[in-house]
Symmetry: D2
Subunit: 360 residues, 4 copies
Amino acid sequence: MSDRVATEFTGPHTFASDNYSGASPEILAALAAVNVGHDRAYGADSETQRLQTLVAEHFGTGATAFPVFNGTGANVVGLLSMLPPWGAVICSATAHIHTDEGGAPEKAGIKLLTVPTPDGKLTPELIATQAWGYGDEHRAQPLAVYLTQSSELGTLYTPEEIAAITQYSHAAGMRVYVDGARLANAAAALDLPLRAFTRDVGVDVVSFGGTKNGALGAEAIVVLDPQAATGLPYLRKHRMQLASKMRFVSAQLTALLTDELFLRNARAANAAAARLRAGVEAGLADGSIQGVTFTQPTQVNAVFATLPPGVADELRRDFHFYDWNSATGEVRWMCSFDTTDSDVDAFVAAIARSTTALAG
Amino acid sequence: MSDRVATEFTGPHTFASDNYSGASPEILAALAAVNVGHDRAYGADSETQRLQTLVAEHFGTGATAFPVFNGTGANVVGLLSMLPPWGAVICSATAHIHTDEGGAPEKAGIKLLTVPTPDGKLTPELIATQAWGYGDEHRAQPLAVYLTQSSELGTLYTPEEIAAITQYSHAAGMRVYVDGARLANAAAALDLPLRAFTRDVGVDVVSFGGTKNGALGAEAIVVLDPQAATGLPYLRKHRMQLASKMRFVSAQLTALLTDELFLRNARAANAAAARLRAGVEAGLADGSIQGVTFTQPTQVNAVFATLPPGVADELRRDFHFYDWNSATGEVRWMCSFDTTDSDVDAFVAAIARSTTALAG
Amino acid sequence: MSDRVATEFTGPHTFASDNYSGASPEILAALAAVNVGHDRAYGADSETQRLQTLVAEHFGTGATAFPVFNGTGANVVGLLSMLPPWGAVICSATAHIHTDEGGAPEKAGIKLLTVPTPDGKLTPELIATQAWGYGDEHRAQPLAVYLTQSSELGTLYTPEEIAAITQYSHAAGMRVYVDGARLANAAAALDLPLRAFTRDVGVDVVSFGGTKNGALGAEAIVVLDPQAATGLPYLRKHRMQLASKMRFVSAQLTALLTDELFLRNARAANAAAARLRAGVEAGLADGSIQGVTFTQPTQVNAVFATLPPGVADELRRDFHFYDWNSATGEVRWMCSFDTTDSDVDAFVAAIARSTTALAG
Amino acid sequence: MSDRVATEFTGPHTFASDNYSGASPEILAALAAVNVGHDRAYGADSETQRLQTLVAEHFGTGATAFPVFNGTGANVVGLLSMLPPWGAVICSATAHIHTDEGGAPEKAGIKLLTVPTPDGKLTPELIATQAWGYGDEHRAQPLAVYLTQSSELGTLYTPEEIAAITQYSHAAGMRVYVDGARLANAAAALDLPLRAFTRDVGVDVVSFGGTKNGALGAEAIVVLDPQAATGLPYLRKHRMQLASKMRFVSAQLTALLTDELFLRNARAANAAAARLRAGVEAGLADGSIQGVTFTQPTQVNAVFATLPPGVADELRRDFHFYDWNSATGEVRWMCSFDTTDSDVDAFVAAIARSTTALAG
């Protein structure tokens, strides 16, 4: 194993990102299971048809899936299908499409109208700050709203909050796209079916994320209101997101949607984050951990905290994680489907050692 | 198996495309082998580092690989890295980037200057018909040449032919990109190391194709002359071709480059096409097959032939393949790494039955 | 004047292009006439309203004009308004959008499907060679046809020819755009109202060219079928073709459309070309001109001819014109609205001197 | 005149925008003066050469001008010439390129990184909030800074302020572009040569605006550091900003740069705004005007003020101007080169009447 895992990791698991983890065994098994003989390419294969059936079961009759390679591809192609050329997208200032896609939306000609938020979540009032200028040719027209569920800051929209957004947005003439790179974590935390907080509350198009939840590399654009999206086969192809051996992408998604694997994986990741949070809180309570403050609620699989100076570096001798805001000392600890209790406990102990050592 | 393979296939293997086949067992095994614990994302993982080592072994010291998801992504991102914004690409009228990418190059702002060819292959003389207008702001500047090796018509460039092209092109101020979706088939047919007909003969950037040669979905942009390509990490990211769990893409490519799997697979596909060709030729010689003519030499894994009217439909009752030019009755028969001798023999027999039936 | 006109011109008029000429006095007068006080910007001014009235008179009730800065802007913005993102444009291989716009359509994401033609003119049969692949996501969808009237080769479509094209195209699901940079020359040559060979024969959108016909810089996208074009105000703005002081663009066009100035100018240019052609033909007949052959009919204001080697250089000592195909010695002689009889006669005499001298 | 000026204007001059005004007579005269015979197209004419000489005189030896049609075209093409494909632009949240170009930068693939400012002006500290993430492929790379001089809010950078910005930006690896749609107003207000607050303080590329300062429609991208800009002729052409009869664009700019017409016009506009401000301040002092507050200093030709509810509507019965922020009642009053003292005095009187009427 040593030639596969970077030597800086003393343990097999990190808190850097849920894309540092590998794949669930069920998903590797699914790849092997579909690896039988020949099948049509570009999505005309039978596994992709099975995926449609499963997607309709989970998201509602008529929901259709367009498998793509990654989250950025899902977001950009999904949004393109919902907008005329002069359409712009309202999103949070923390939106993945704005902060972490290298400018991919703009390369596809999409202007983003960003709104600062305290917790990464939009509301009708916040959206309204950008929902104006209709008919003014000097303003890119706000015609779609982009939400991330669960958000980049690990926070969660309730179904009611999403319903309020879709009602407001539709009334204003805008469609609603949900970036579901971590949709499963939301479903697990809300303990609701996928459709309950997407299709049933007015979301027009959602991405169902596999990669961050135990897949190797698989996402699907799921169209919930067929009136909302046009030309997806063409857009996906010419934006270079069309897999030829699509059965291998679809199989990852069907495996996730079979026997609730997507929920089991997400629950495990959420639980690990909850355990991590609880462990740190306990340490703060009994004094074994000092100087750590949380900057966001822990609702899914991410913990955002601020560390005293020097602690992050100390911790990184054994555990890998990202800075979120180096100016303030805010860090992000992400848990994956395979993060174990002992991983978490070891990390909590390390946090205790580091903060105590540096505190005094 | 019945729910995985379309029922119109009576045999497990088709002659439709080398992306109808599945994956080599070695490649699935490689995915399982890298599925150990956590590793850095976005290409900073150790498997991607191993890939660099293997790529340097095969393509020469200093050659660097940028894994991407599909051939269209490799072509467009590779070409973008070689061109200023006003650069255009000279290519054959049969070029995949022109005929089969849904306009993806144009969506990325790249203008193609196409040249008709008799056999899908460019030559310095043919390239010269478009290599003019330098300094004329009204003309998109021809600054790159795109070749496909082996070509869309299943034909092959010798190393000397490529050298002539690169010498001409470089002297004219153009860089040379080789679409290597079927590079392995060329290597197998030429019986030469990969570098012998790419790096060693002046090719600047080449894509190494895995998907059509037994991978699930993996291609790499390989930069042979670092002076030729700029900004690839950024271009790959904002053109949506950056895999987060890149180890799973790299592992497919390292598996192909280990123990010559890429050659074994390609030789098998080439041999199947040769057997198919020979079988049909034998049938034509002894009269058991009538009215079939070949439109291109069979140099790798594709056979292009013209069938008498009605024969394609008859054959399609049992075997799947594509029309190439319905006006003329030209069809394309593609062999994959897993096409067996009995697949081929059964197909030849069916061709005999169909042509005889309809002729008589 | 000497500091304004390049010293290589011994005469004030050239045969290089109809954009070498200046502006009709009526148009300068129109600019002065609208230069009164303040008026709304961006097309809400009263002169732009007058233009709409004149355009409706000439092109038919309901025809609407969108003034833009240049022909490339008209073409690209016009085509964008007629296409979904996956739409491609069928055009002649000599089309201005393909040969002379520096790749502007591709920069706007438009793929061109070119068709070789003998005389720069498309026909239903020629268009049909590219009108296929509908529904195939791998093929940019042919959804618009682009014609140039009068063509880049100075040839002319009859109304019947255009009607045949629009009928064919509409039946195939394609819209028809006419590049009218030299529309006036066509109207003059056909001796028909503008609507007779555009709106009345099914053209969906046409550009009305001013710049090549005595304006300073003014073109209008004219929408003939409102169903055919969507979002023009937005497209024009974000493609940077929206004039703030639009009255000064509109005034050039209203001046052209008033008292048939556009026809007077075009007739003059056409007549000059006819005179030039006749003069050369007479010279060929009486032997005073040798070795010149015409490559296209002279139907409007351009003469295309092949000159013996060395003659072009000799002629260029006094007269400026462009090579059209240096390999064959083909040149283009363009006449403008202000090309006089004596200009033409002097040129004919020079051609006689040059060809005779070099002939020996 | 009645058919040219919208009937809602009782006076010939408005306070809506400096693009509501017409053209200086000197500029119309310049158009007539260059309208002599034929001259080369696309900028090879002698008037464009004269422009280069004048630009070098005003901006420094080696400064080169690229005339374009409008400010949006200058900004986008100028920025494109300064950036690699992965480059992003740091700008104020009030930047014209962000608020008023319909998304044109994004259509050209440029991502904007916006910074809130109190007065429309950037500072090194403000720029630094976005000048990070270098080398991170997930972040569009901040490689240019965009300033507007004078700003969208009518505020002014001193040469020292610009020098601080260019020093900071260059040290951080970023080039500096100045949107000079109202550069002349800045020059007039600063009472400095154009080069003193552009070239001499490190600005790399600046647009010289004519349209808002008495031209019909003419702007020039002026390259001050040739190392900073690449490919402008190609970029201008394929972004559809290349005028064929360029002498008519250049003549407008040469006229402005001759005998300081650009300064005379700008001084007039600035003086009118100063008079307007002073008149309102006097009214506030003596009580004849009530409830009006200024939201920005009046440094050039714009006055930004907040009006009590209902006053704007009342005023608009006779005077045209724009709302700036309808939520707060903020309006913008722009003065043009042709705004007279009596225009201003009449407006001040109307303000007095409106505010008094509604207050009492």
